[in-house]
């Protein structure tokens, strides 16, 4: 077909307008306002008195000078990497399982999804209770099966509280990973597996040389979505530990929240908030560039 007429193009733009207005109002405006805040000296008194003062990169500097900030960055990375690795591996294993037909497959799959449908505040509260040292379900379970050596004050011991919140987050994330990976598995032509089997490839060889390579694009998408969700996670951790004990689970989002709403240091909070955007932004840019490269690659290179 030839180029769309100017009229049609105008109509096209018209359809985009509501979306663009939405983005401008709810994304661009707060983001720019945040940038503005991050370069001003702004606490509660100054905000009300209108005495805010441009202070360049001072807020960024004081955030970078704050050991608590770097501690929370490290915690965020631990939380994100731990969660992604576990929920992806378990999700993949479950996807492989559910890719085969067996009785009650559909029912069990939908039951698993409930974990993902629950609001994080609910799952956080549930896990806080289940991991409680005295009345929690896990310790009771360990004791009941004679493994009382495993019972532990999971969330009130600084050395295990991070493991506790990662555990809860993995539980929340597994069904989502499983679902997307399962869809990916269904796009692989079964004939490939049949042909390989006839050629004498073992199940492990087929997984390694057929399934895994063909699943790479889906896997990247799943991991990226997981990264975006996990890096900014707030509610689950806030409900489970409030960042404690001491500061053992004060991930970056909790740090930002604290600077804003406990200390009312708006300028520094905005600066730290923008830094919270950096990791997901870098990952997003990398992903988009990768997609473009794949689009340009010869047909057959990607699923």
């Amino acid at each position: 077909m030839n180029q769309p007429s100017a009229r049609r193009r105008r109509t096209g733009y018209l359809f985009c307008l509501p979306g663009m207005a939405f983005l401008a109002l709810f994304l661009a405006y707060p983001l720019l306002y945040n940038v503005w805040t991050s370069v001003h000296d702004l606490d509660l008194g100054q905000l009300l008195g209108g005495a805010e003062r441009f202070n360049g990169l001072d807020n960024y500097r004081s955030v970078a000078d704050d050991p608590a900030f770097w501690h929370s960055v490290r915690l965020s990375l631990v939380f994100t990497c731990g969660s992604l690795l576990l929920q992806f591996t378990i999700g993949f294993a479950l996807a492989l399982l559910f890719a085969r037909p067996f009785p009650l497959n559909g029912l069990m799959r939908s039951l698993l999804l409930i974990a993902w449908l629950l609001p994080p505040v609910v799952s956080g509260t549930l896990f806080r209770w289940m991991l409680d040292a005295e009345s929690g379900a896990y310790n009771a379970l360990f004791q009941a099966v004679g493994l009382s050596g495993l019972s532990h004050d999971w969330l009130t011991d600084p050395s295990t509280s991070m493991a506790g919140v990662v555990f809860a987050n993995v539980w929340v994330g597994v069904p989502f990973n499983m679902l997307l990976l399962l869809v990916g598995l269904h796009t692989i032509d079964p004939e490939l597996h049949e042909a390989a089997a006839i050629d004498g490839a073992s199940a492990w060889q087929r997984l390694r040389h057929i399934t895994l390579p063909l699943m790479r694009p889906v896997s990247v998408t799943v991991l990226l979505l997981g990264l975006l969700y996990t890096f900014k996670v707030f509610d689950l951790v806030f409900v489970m530990t409030g960042g404690g004990p001491v500061d053992a689970t004060r991930v970056l989002s909790l740090y930002v929240y604290e600077v804003f709403f406990t200390f009312f240091r708006f300028g520094q909070g905005a600066a730290a908030g923008l830094l919270l955007l950096v990791v997901p932004l870098l990952a997003g840019v990398w992903y988009v560039r990768r997609l473009r490269r794949e689009d340009e690659a010869p047909a057959g290179g990607a699923v």
Partner: protein, 414 residues
Amino acid sequence: MSYPLDRRSFLRASGATAAAAALGAGAALTSCSSDTSGPVTLKWWDYFTLDNFQPGMNRLIKDIEAGVPDVRIERRTFPFAELERQITLGAISGDLPDLAIVDNVAMNTLGSSRLLADLTARVKKWGQADQYYKGPWEGCQVGGKTLGIPNNSNCLALYCNTRMLKAADVEPPTTWDELASAAQKLTSGDRYGLALSAINTEEGVFQFLPFLWQAGGDLDTFSTYGATALTFLDELIAKGSLSEQCVGWTQQDVNTRFLNQRAALQINGPWQIPTLKKADFDWNVVALPRDKEAATCLGGENWVAMANSKHVDKVWEVLEYTQRPSVLVPYLVAFGELPARKDLADRGSWASDPALRLFLSQLPLARPRQYGAHYAEASQAVAEAEQAVLTGSASPSAAARTAAGKIDKALGEQ
């Protein structure tokens, strides 16, 4: 579209809400003139969301609407932890109440924010300042101005399970040494001698500060006396008299332990009395054990008027009205709260109830947490030090030194 990068243009650009915000910010700067033609509707915010507070609150509001001429109250409630935040956000968006009942510790942030109306002249004319207990009244004074009126007061004391104490042949402790030995004697099986809250929020700090003060120190001498107080608690944990779990307990959790008889002693406030009255065991309350000096922490709420309100005079009329004994006593009784006024000490349920009387007798000792605008940061440093010691990740002296550095920095920024 391009905007010059200044806040007001930004706010205007986002439409109606923003316009309201700009007006709000403007109004905050101009002094408040009241237009008293016809009935005035006052916006009122508080955090008394629980069901058992509603009858008392509704009655108070009805009483005000009947007793103060031409006034209507429009009440809105927020969860406890949300109110101060909402007031702050309201300051940005221009959506603020005319009056509010806020936690007394919120005076640190709000008091230095220009959000609160100066009531000094009105209070002077009223002439009842000397009727209030020192702690609660001083909690309303910021920078030489009166920015609020105490609504009610509370403080901490030690609850004892009398049967357990009798069985273990233990007297209610009055000093730290007695507390330590009593807690140890009362510990057995899955029952701890003492329960207290050491959670990493203001709640935990509220419970910790009395130990610091009893040791003879304060926030500005934390590296010395903070270490003394932390050592004392650390030893309780080491001996098993206090559960390490307390780093995750709220005061509500502590009371639950006491109610389930899994703690023989607990540090808590008078707001637990209504629940404890339903318990099927005997208990009593004594003053917090002392070390170098006796001390307890002041809690409770203050009335405040917002500086940007167009009706500050009307708000003051309401506040003055609520402080009349005929209004205040039934209201406080309905809430199970203690008065902040000395002249009411012999009225209400606190005149006859021994537990309430004990709490009331502690009010003159109760200290407000009044440390200025950056108290929140100092408070967090205290909570972290306590958590680090009680979970065994730092020694009391090291934790106290780290915290002292943060506290000095925060409180030095006034």
